[in-house]
């Protein structure tokens, strides 16, 4: 029974690794102490001039309109802030119904009266919208988050009340707090926000997979990229469901499209739902490598970066696998990262591990590569460094990630696999790698208003 001794040995080594990682992570903790706290509205309602005596406080909708005139009111109770306020954002989410969108999202202003009640306020009995002017939202699309900077108003703990008006005859409809997850939010940042780029000029590689469908998750992750310079990778399933050129135009281009010039993509099975992934190759052009082939490599600083195609043959001796071995042999870089769509290691409940990718993982392992990034399961999972058979290998193992939290609806986890070190299935985000000369930092950067994080550092082999 050769297997009997091995798992026990694995356990012992694993514990030692975990201890090392913890030490490294705490040693590298950033000095700045910025924190965000999210408050959902404690009261919200709209009032309607055409039903002047009616209260709409328990409606799931918050309408704002110029004709008939509708106004909406939001109230937040801010308490328990850990420090001085350095920024505050109001976030409102448009309904997922026809006509929720509008060319004008409304004019936002504080009300000095904060005593109005959600179930009492009516057109006839509404607070005066007489406080600090907060700004306007321009065009708002259906079923999406929209943000307004309210730092001038939210200065610390207290009760804050905001009224919204519109002169547009095609008003907007937002989700009220009764809807739960899409309730109006106030996101308050305390402490010093140090978004200074890495002190060194080490290159950043940032991205995710499973990105653009008709929902709003891709907008959220595209927004994160606005604040993260560097090269953008994608891990496939760039668009849903069929990978057509028109889906790239309708879904990807309006969100991730603004980062296209710095994007080096990889294709997924949904991209290949269009024959030959022609929509994908047409949209990305030369940035996707040789058209129709789907695998290519490039260098970033001291790193060699390889984008592979898990939708075509990966078997030992296949053109792709032979190309990969030749590419690795020719590389002069100290550290190597590779990415593709289908994961070899995943605890996801929807797609099982793709063993067809193992020859690629084996080639990378044979050439001492450091990191493999994949998607396909719509969630985040980080594994300890492993050999191609999933055994813990702290000497030569490759750390692998599933980063499928790019915007498509989240999946669930099944049985948690050995060596799985971190997981999340309820937060959109991007995975940021900072590529140092002999190590790398990884960081899960969550969507605005969410707190999940995962970060650490590992040395190159």
């Amino acid at each position: 029974m050769p297997g009997r001794r091995a798992p026990l040995a694995v356990v012992a080594v694993g514990i030692a690794t975990a201890a090392t990682l913890t030490a490294a992570a705490s040693g590298d903790a950033p000095a700045a102490a910025a924190a965000t706290t999210t408050f959902t509205a404690t009261a919200d309602a709209f009032v309607d001039s055409s039903a002047a005596a009616t209260n709409h406080g328990t409606s799931g909708q918050l309408g704002v309109d110029g004709s008939p005139v509708k106004r909406l009111f939001l109230k937040f109770t801010v308490s328990g802030l850990p420090g001085a306020v350095s920024g505050a954002k109001l976030r409102v989410h448009t309904d997922d119904v026809a006509d929720a969108h509008s060319g004008a999202g409304g004019t936002f202003r504080a009300t000095t009266d904060t005593t109005w009640s959600e179930t009492g306020v009516t057109w006839n009995d509404q607070p005066a919208i007489d406080g600090t002017a907060l700004g306007e939202l321009g065009a708002v699309s259906r079923n999406a988050w929209h943000e307004l900077d309210v730092t001038s108003y939210v200065t610390g703990n207290g009760t804050y009340s905001i009224g919204v008006t519109s002169t547009s005859t095609d008003g907007a409809d937002y989700d009220s707090r009764e809807t739960g997850a899409t309730a109006p939010q106030l996101v308050v940042t305390t402490g010093t926000t140090t978004t200074t780029p890495a002190p060194s000029a080490d290159p950043v590689l940032v991205g995710v997979g499973d990105i653009s469908d008709s929902g709003s998750g891709d907008s959220v992750t595209a927004d994160l990229l606005d604040d993260i310079p560097g090269t953008v990778f994608t891990l496939g399933d760039n668009v849903y469901d069929s990978g057509t050129r028109s889906e790239f135009s309708s879904y990807y281009e309006p969100t991730w499209g603004r980062h296209k010039a710095r994007t080096r993509p990889s294709p997924g099975n949904h991209d290949y739902n269009t024959s030959g992934a022609s929509g994908y190759y047409d949209y990305f052009g030369a940035q996707a490598g040789p058209s129709g082939r789907g695998y290519y490599s490039y260098d970033l600083g001291d790193w060699h970066v390889i984008s592979l195609n898990s939708n075509i043959s990966m078997s030992a001796g296949s053109p792709q696998e032979r190309w990969l071995r030749a590419d690795l042999a020719a590389s002069t870089k100290r550290c190597t990262v590779a990415y593709w769509h289908h994961p070899l290691f995943t605890s996801g409940a929807n797609h099982s591990p793709s063993t067809a990718t193992r020859p690629l993982f084996q080639a990378l392992y044979d050439y001492n590569a450091d990191v493999v990034l994949t998607g396909h399961n719509h969630q985040y999972e980080r594994f300890a460094p492993q050999n191609p058979n999933g055994g813990l290998d702290t000497a030569r193992g490759i750390r692998s990630f599933v980063a499928g939290m790019g915007g498509a609806g989240h999946y669930r986890f099944g049985t948690i696999k050995p060596n799985s070190e971190a997981r999340n299935s309820d937060t959109y985000g991007v995975l940021k790698l900072t590529l140092h000369s002999d190590s790398y930092d990884w960081q899960f950067v969550p969507e605005a208003g969410r707190s999940y994080s995962d970060s650490g550092t590992t040395a190159c082999h």
């Binding site: 009997r4 798992p7 026990l8 694995v10 356990v11 694993g14 514990i15 975990a18 929902g215 849903y240 469901d241 739902n273 605890s347 409940a349 929807n350 797609h351 099982s352 058979n389 999933g390 498509a408 609806g409 669930r412 986890f413 099944g414 049985t415 948690i416 696999k417 050995p418 060596n419 799985s420 070190e421 971190a422 997981r423 999340n424 299935s425 309820d426 937060t427 999940y452």
Partner: protein, 317 residues
Amino acid sequence: MTALSRRGRLAVTAVAAVVLGGVAVGYARLAADPAQPLPSAPVTGPRMHVLSNGRLSAVSRADPAGPREVTGQRCDRAHAAGGTIACLRPAGALAAGALVVLDEGLRELRTVPLTGFPNRARVSASGRMVAWTLFVDGHSYAAGGFSTSTGVLDTRTGALVTSLEEFTVDGEPGQAADRNFWGVTFTADDNRFYATMSTGGHRYLVVGDFAARTLRPLVDNVECPSLSPDGRRIAYKAAVDGDPGRGWRLSVMDLATLSSTPLAETRSVDDQPAWWDDSAVVYGVQRGDGTNDVWTVPADGTGTPRVLVPEANSPAP
């Protein structure tokens, strides 16, 4: 797998429990929940089966959160009733996935090789009928991003239906390209059953007849039905506003009137529920990090949900 494996597994269960237990605890420390490894302890009296991160386990019905007997049986989904245990075994390095039918002594009675990802399992109250659902990759008709495969085994006759797609729906033979089935529950006669059929963007409750190989749609927006012990109601998940993208509300439907009651669990539940007794249902809810807990809530819409078995899923009361 060699001919040795069957006997070998039996030995593993009984004799080598120490070895496997040690490995299981090690994995738990590393992976599932570093703070709370799950030691195995004997359970007496009436029991309830659950999975503990993929290990078939049993807890006492009298103390579900108490001691837990963790076996060496690896299942990604399981169910047990009437002395029969159905275990959907994950694919391993050397073996494909399979349905394994076990008796209470964990003797393997039947193995059915299966391809796909274990998702639902159900044993009829008598222990005779076994059904399963797998996620299947590579079906291009799955506009919703997935496709399923659902089969039924009659453990008495050995009759095996590998896919409900073989059955006739409403007298219409042949297979609609976009039809998917999942979440079977059996009635007391071990012939009639309920399940979910999706087609054209809708998810219908269907009633099936195993002997006649027929299916008949009853009502829209019912997924993963689970028949109550008295046979008069189903617990199920109802897509919020008919849109699975918005999550599911755990509900109970009276089969005589088809009237539905949403239960007091307001979080989205993606599970085939089970019945604790005629007045309460049990179901798994997953935390953000993939850890599951088994919860219970009254079946009449009253009360509040509470954890029944922490760090467990796939409940079979």
